[in-house]
Amino acid sequence: MHAVPMEQSESLYGLLAEYADASTLVAASRRVREEGYTVFDAYTPYPVAALDEAMAIQPTRIPMWVLLGALIGGVTAYGMQYYAAVIDYPWNVGGKPLHSWPAFIPITFELAVLGGALFGLIAMIVKNRLPEPYHPLFDVPAFDQASQHAFFLCIEASDPRFDREQTRQFLQALGAKEVTEVVA
């Protein structure tokens, strides 16, 4: 249906290269990006801050989602209290004004925090496309070590510049310990 650069890459998810440590991986990622690749990712056993810059990862919009969740939580909480105390069941308690706003602040604050936290979590999970119990990378036996002590870089076959042989040689030239083909 759609054009595929090479016919073998139909069955290929990408090429997975293992690097010895974080700094080699960061350098390799930078070169991969500079070479014009766009569909690739690094896999590290802990967050490596330098990769954000090397891979040119765009700033995430999660802070916006958290803010939105906090606003929705806070406005809902205040609105609920206002509606209950002023409109739906106005009742004079000890001569206090019906709209006693200082007393409404604590619940407004709590629900704003709750809304922000929930929206943030949902945004992180959805944007990372989790939960994703199966992924082609999990079929590579050595990939288990990405969560322990190994550093990987994977250029995916869907990248327009991907070429089975040239990409492999390129990854190797960047100091890869090993390059594995990942079956889609």
Binding site: A42, Y46, A49, A50, L130, Q145
Partner: protein, 459 residues
């Protein structure tokens, strides 16, 4: 970062570790095939306490709160004492995981996971007490805003209603923060587990986490934001707890110093509990190279500092009682120090003010058994503090004709000790099945240690 330069502090992680060795060490126990006998013995003991709790709750449900020692005027008693005690303990977990993260205290990494779990379980114990105190637990939903047939709403001006929202939010956000922190470690456990069943369960909760750099980026952003949200949250929760008291007009409760003094007291008791739990954990699992003397020293210093704030609170409470010229406040102060509960008051001063002064000595801060004893003393002292606040203020208020004495019954004690059983049961299960130290954050620390200054800070 200035603190890194002037003092040659001991390292956060002992030298000689690499990514593989810390991963192996910290995930070893959850993945052991055969549960060790020692774990079972400990678990049995705490589980029996949990059964005591269940028994006390069943009897309470059948017979009602009349089995407790509460009366009029002391209508709050153990239920509220224990509620405040437990929720205060929880606050150190949030402080360690959120506030110390924002202050970039890298030493927090070895203890934050465990402290967060402690928070979660302490909040669970705390939340039970107001429910039990209702007497009819199955009617708890009366306190929530829902469309009932009478058209009634909760009273928004009441701190007790604020409490429902504060504690519920705190419990949920703590759970969320803890779970988010666990996701990468669950992936590690999934990848290290050999048994298919374990692999599957860890894999289910790991959500298919695959350590992608693009995922890490969003993950780190969320984690930092959650820390930013949890920090004011923890302050607000204990402030609202203190307003349960301060908004009333009871002598000894109606004071503006309560919010800050309660928050400091919460952190004080929470650090005491973290130390009480982590000192045995460290020696049982041999985590000395991850939880070092530097951690003990730092935690002891925070305990000392918050303890001094609490002592200042005691001092000001009594000063203001005298300075206000209010007869009832003055009587309340005198009654605390010389009345029927005077022994407990002075025991509280001994445990919370006098004994913690030993922490000025470095030797006490870094000698395990001494620190453990000081921590136990603070745990007990903070419980006594809540006892004194609740009972002495209520038992003699404005009208001498309504004065009465309070003493706890065996059902009160069974319920209280029973929640300790619940707390420890949950902790036993936690250390058995999950890594009690955050593995990926320790890996990060191990990698960054030699050239900490040269690399840009993560987050």
């Amino acid at each position: 970062m200035a603190s890194h330069h002037h003092a040659p502090e001991p390292p956060v992680i002992e030298p000689g570790h690499d990514l593989e060795s810390v991963t192996h060490k910290l995930t070893a126990f959850p993945l052991i095939r055969r549960t060790p006998g020692r774990w079972f013995i400990g678990f049995m003991v705490v589980f029996i306490l949990l059964l005591v709790f269940l028994y006390a709750v069943i009897v309470l449900t059948v017979l009602g709160v009349g089995i407790w020692g509460i009366n009029i005027p002391v209508a709050w008693g153990f239920a509220i004492i224990n509620f405040v005690w437990w929720i205060g303990i929880g606050h150190a977990g949030t402080l360690i995981s959120a506030i110390l993260l924002l202050f970039r205290q890298s030493w927090r990494t070895s203890i934050n996971r465990f402290a967060e779990a402690m928070t979660l379980f302490a909040v669970a114990c705390a939340a039970l007490f107001p429910l039990l105190h209702l007497g009819r637990m199955h009617r708890f939903y009366y306190i929530l805003p829902y469309p009932d047939t009478l058209g009634l709403w909760p009273q928004w001006r009441s701190p007790l209603v604020w409490d429902v929202f504060a504690v519920a939010t705190y419990g949920l956000v703590s759970l969320l923060f803890w779970y988010v922190g666990l996701i990468p470690d669950l992936a590690t456990l999934r990848d290290r587990a050999r048994r298919p069943g374990a692999k599957r369960i860890y894999g289910f909760f790991a959500l298919g986490w695959r350590n992608s750099a693009r995922h890490w980026h969003r993950y780190q952003t969320l984690y930092l934001l959650l820390a930013g949200l949890a920090t004011p949250l923890v302050v607000s929760v204990h402030t609202i707890v203190s307003l349960d008291f301060a908004v009333s007009i009871i002598p000894g409760w109606h004071t503006t110093i309560f919010p800050p003094y309660f928050v400091a007291g919460a952190i004080f008791s929470g650090f005491a509990m973290v130390l009480t739990l982590i000192l045995p954990l460290r020696s049982i699992f041999g985590f000395h190279d991850v939880i070092t003397d530097r951690h003990l020293n730092n935690m002891a210093k925070i305990m000392l500092a918050t303890g001094l704030i609490v002592a200042y609170g005691y001092l000001m409470e009594n000063f203001i009682a005298w300075y206000s010229g209010n007869t009832f406040e003055q009587y309340m102060s005198a009654n605390r120090m010389t009345g029927p509960y005077a022994k407990l008051f002075w025991l509280l001063i001994l445990c919370n003010v006098a004994i913690p002064q030993l922490l000025w000595f470095r030797r006490v801060r870094t000698t395990v058994w001494m620190l453990f004893l000081v921590a136990l003393s603070v745990n007990y002292g903070m419980w006594l503090e809540r006892y004194i606040i609740v009972v002495t203020s209520l038992h003699r208020d404005f009208l001498p004709s309504s004065w009465d004495m309070y003493s706890a019954t065996r059902w009160d004690w069974m319920t209280y000790l029973g929640t300790i059983g619940l707390f420890l049961t949950l902790l036993f299960l936690f250390v058995r099945f999950l890594p009690s130290v955050s593995v990926f954050e320790v890996r990060e620390l191990v990698e960054h240690q030699p050239y900490e200054e040269a690399t840009p800070e993560v987050l």
